[in-house]
């Protein structure tokens, strides 16, 4: 194994940063005192040893809120990317393995979707279906869904819009893979269409799918933060990095020194995105794939 085949140092560092971020976000809130999540008279406090990131406008500890928001942001990122991976892979496989006519039509559709404002449709979609889902959930007595119906819809809809790049890449790879001699051999032996796709082509796509999964997660996280920033994504009492940033931006003014409310959520988001992009880049170099 040559050194070029191994993950670069920056890739390893990025993976480490992500692991730490994940751990802090999951374990961190359990280590802080329970009173930190409650409103207190200590509002807009500057960072101190008791509150490393200061407190927000209701006197809640900002570090705790950032960690809890991180749970939501990362959860949405992972689940949304997983859904987009599923759709994109399926779409790309079918397009790449069907004839030129179907392939052309399917890829033309992807081109069109690329250049419509998808997030805008998704906003309309989320608001159209959120109440409906909430009604259905309370009707059937699914209490867990009533509180987080918006989160579920958010994850689903972000997965629905972020699959385009994955579909393009998978389709391109499928086109080359299906000309390989082992696929031809399988076809000659009478192996069925779906078996060839799932047994012979899909396993060879695993590497490139993993790379683009790493790059899809930050896109979904950014989309989620975008929606939450506008107040149309995650809703209180839940929060995400996007909604924390929105709160921070709303409390900017020259009189109060509440700069921490923007700076710390921004740093959390920036670190995560930077690490994910670096990891994706490093993995792409490792498998020698070209960017699109």
């Amino acid at each position: 194994m040559s050194s070029a085949r191994r993950l670069s140092a920056s890739g390893k560092a990025a993976a480490l940063v992500l692991a730490i971020m994940g751990l802090v976000v999951i374990v961190g809130p359990l280590l802080l005192p329970g009173s930190y999540s409650l409103p207190s008279p200590l509002t807009y406090a500057a960072p101190s040893t008791a509150h490393p990131c200061g407190t927000d406008l209701n006197g809640r500890d900002l570090l705790l809120r950032i960690m809890e928001g991180g749970r939501i942001s990362l959860l949405v990122g992972l689940c949304g990317a997983a859904i987009s991976l599923f759709i994109g892979t399926a779409y790309g496989l079918v397009a790449g393995s069907s004839g030129a006519g179907t392939d052309n039509a399917m890829m033309r559709a992807v081109d069109i979707l690329y250049s419509v404002p998808r997030l805008i449709f998704i906003l309309v979609f989320i608001n159209a279906f959120n109440e409906r889902l909430q009604l259905a959930a309370s009707h059937h007595g699914w209490d867990w869904l009533v509180g987080s119906s918006r989160l579920v819809i958010l994850i689903l809809s972000l997965g629905i819009i972020e699959w385009l790049t994955m579909a393009r890449i998978v389709r391109g790879q499928t086109l080359t893979l299906r000309e390989r001699s082992y696929v031809a051999a399988a076809r000659v032996l009478g192996v069925g269409y779906w078996t060839i796709l799932l047994r012979h082509i899909l396993p060879n796509l695993a590497g490139i799918i993993l790379v683009y999964l790493t790059l899809a997660i930050p896109s979904v996280i950014i989309d989620e933060a975008f929606l939450s920033f506008l107040g149309l994504g995650v809703q209180a009492p839940q929060s995400s990095w996007g909604s924390l940033l929105a709160e921070g931006a709303a409390s900017i003014n020259p009189l109060k020194g509440a700069w921490g409310l923007i700076l710390f959520p921004a740093l959390a988001l920036l670190t995560t995105l930077l690490a994910l992009y670096s990891l994706g880049d490093a993995m792409r170099r490792k498998i020698g794939a070209k960017g699109d």
Partner: protein, 300 residues
């Protein structure tokens, strides 16, 4: 090309249909509030805004109005038509968007070419690091940070508002920088590859200066991926301007879009979506044309 032109109306009808049914089929009408309106008044309101009758009739009559260029009335901003609201706000959004587009292209091409012309140096590494950082700074992070630094700490630029060039500077930078970085990376990757090609070696062998080789010969070929990125880029800029308008309190169409969702203001929402889509499709057509012009090898 003709086929592409013919597909425009089809896509547009799809957009209109999806938007209309998403809005109309969501529970809760535009006139639902804490206090229930008397039935007679609600009926009159629905009739005035053409929201009565079976959904299919509503849909066909909406299509008919759209064909006449009538985007109908806003249900929230009473007595104002969607056409009126868009006529006032769209120029603002477009000014912001076009400025950001120009900034993104200028900075992106310059930075990308700068990095690619210096392979293996510290300068290239630094430029790539800057690009990665800028890509990871979406506008809703960058905007508040820029305000914090330039408007509040240094007090060089206004915090928000609209009308003066100084008020345009921060918002358009906020909107443009992440995409400038994307363009720079695209150009860097493609220029690095192009610089290895035979015609570049020939140009160098002729004794042309490195400047001429990179900017005159190689850039013309390497720019193609950037040109095809312009379509998605404008879609992103238009979406991104919603958030930038919110951050900097700019009276553009984006703010009305967000409010129309919250207020269930269906026709305003539909109007913004439709106008955005038409703009994007026209722009994409333009991009396609210029792509063909730039690369004569593409025939379709």
């Amino acid at each position: 090309m003709l086929r592409r032109l013919a597909s425009l109306p089809v896509v547009l009808v799809c957009v209109v249909t999806i938007t209309f049914f998403l809005i109309r089929l969501s529970p809760g009408g535009p006139f639902d509030s804490e206090r229930k309106l008397p039935a007679a008044i609600e009926k009159q309101l629905l009739a005035k805004y053409k929201l009565d009758g079976p959904i299919v009739t509503q849909y066909t009559s909406y299509l008919k109005d759209l064909l006449h260029g009538d985007l109908r009335l806003s249900t929230k901003y009473r007595n104002r038509s969607v056409n009126e609201i868009l006529a006032q706000t769209l120029p603002v959004t477009l000014t912001l968007g076009v400025t950001a587009l120009l900034i993104a292209i200028t900075i992106g091409i310059w930075l990308g070419a700068f990095a690619a012309a210096r392979p293996g140096t510290l300068a290239e590494f630094g430029a790539l690091a800057v690009m990665l950082l800028a890509i990871s700074l979406p506008s809703f992070v960058l905007g508040p940070l820029l305000i914090l630094i330039f408007s509040i700490k240094l007090a060089w630029l206004p915090v928000g508002g609209w009308g003066t060039p100084a008020q345009l500077l921060l918002p358009s930078l906020t909107l443009a920088l992440p995409y400038a970085a994307v363009i720079a990376r695209l150009l860097h990757d493609s220029l690095r590859e192009t610089l290895l090609e035979d015609f570049v070696r020939t140009a160098r062998a002729k004794g042309l200066s490195e400047r001429v080789v990179v900017y005159r010969h190689a850039l013309r070929v390497a720019i193609l991926p950037v040109v095809s990125y312009l379509g998605p880029l404008t879609a992103n800029l238009l979406t991104g301007s919603i958030v930038v308008e919110t951050i900097f309190h700019i009276p553009g169409a984006g703010g009305f879009f967000v409010n129309s969702i919250l207020n269930r203001d269906g026709f305003l929402l539909g109007g913004v979506v439709i106008v955005y889509c038409v703009l994007l499709m026209l722009f994409n057509l333009l991009v396609d044309l210029s792509y063909r012009f730039l690369d004569r090898r593409i025939r379709a």
